[in-house]
Amino acid sequence: MKFGILVNEGPYQHQASDSAYQFARAALEKGHEVTRVFFYHDGVYNGTSYSVPPLDDRQVTKQWSELAKEHDVDLVLCVAACQRRGMMDDGEAERHGKGANNVAEGFRISGLGQLIETGIQSDRLVTFGD
């Protein structure tokens, strides 16, 4: 079965991203496909490459990056949410003439259409938020 996942909150403040990650891992372990994780609202902060959590804490961004690499999961950060919240890839930084790429490996910035597309193309869309 194809699962799409929506994450509405950033890392650390809420458990949403942790729960989504555990769900994605479990789905993959059961042989399902996780087509895309769409990060909306504060969820885009999950993709920051600038995070340096304490060593004894979970490394939220790194976990997602590794999941994407291992299982070819598409991690999409909503572009409009990124603009409000200070997340930039090279293209965005160049377009706005400020900032620098702070998007971690395995994540990409794209439009809200990717969320609708996930809803259409996956068998189930599972949402995690506050």
Binding site: L6, Y40, A81, G113, L115, I116, L125
Partner: protein, 141 residues
Amino acid sequence: MGDMNEGGSTKKFLYLNRKAPYGTVYALESLEVVLIAAAFEQDVSLAFIDDGVYQIIQGQDTTGIGMKNFSPTFNALGDYDINKLYVEKESLDERGLTEDDLMPLVYEDEDDDWAEKPSIRVVSRAEMADLMQDQDVILSF
């Protein structure tokens, strides 16, 4: 925007709005998804329950809080063929609100000589529960 629906399938999408506007961004960013969704030619419904009914209340004036009043955007939904806005009667009642307190949202029905019709449908909690059962994708923020 052309045919964005590559798979060709049409699914029923329900947008579940349970939160008041402005205190959190969810109401605004939910509306932004709905507007994008219009390009995908899916079957779109919006549900307003709990404090979500305040999203479409009349007379919103955000001057004093320095935020943008996005409620006029709801008027545009009809032009995008998004005209099924279900509002739960029990949620209105609890909050001392009636349908008259809501914005008079309308659309033009192309199947009825473009007659102007109300987009808002006040339904009971039981009807709202039935509506949920009828969906393929339910988005909550």
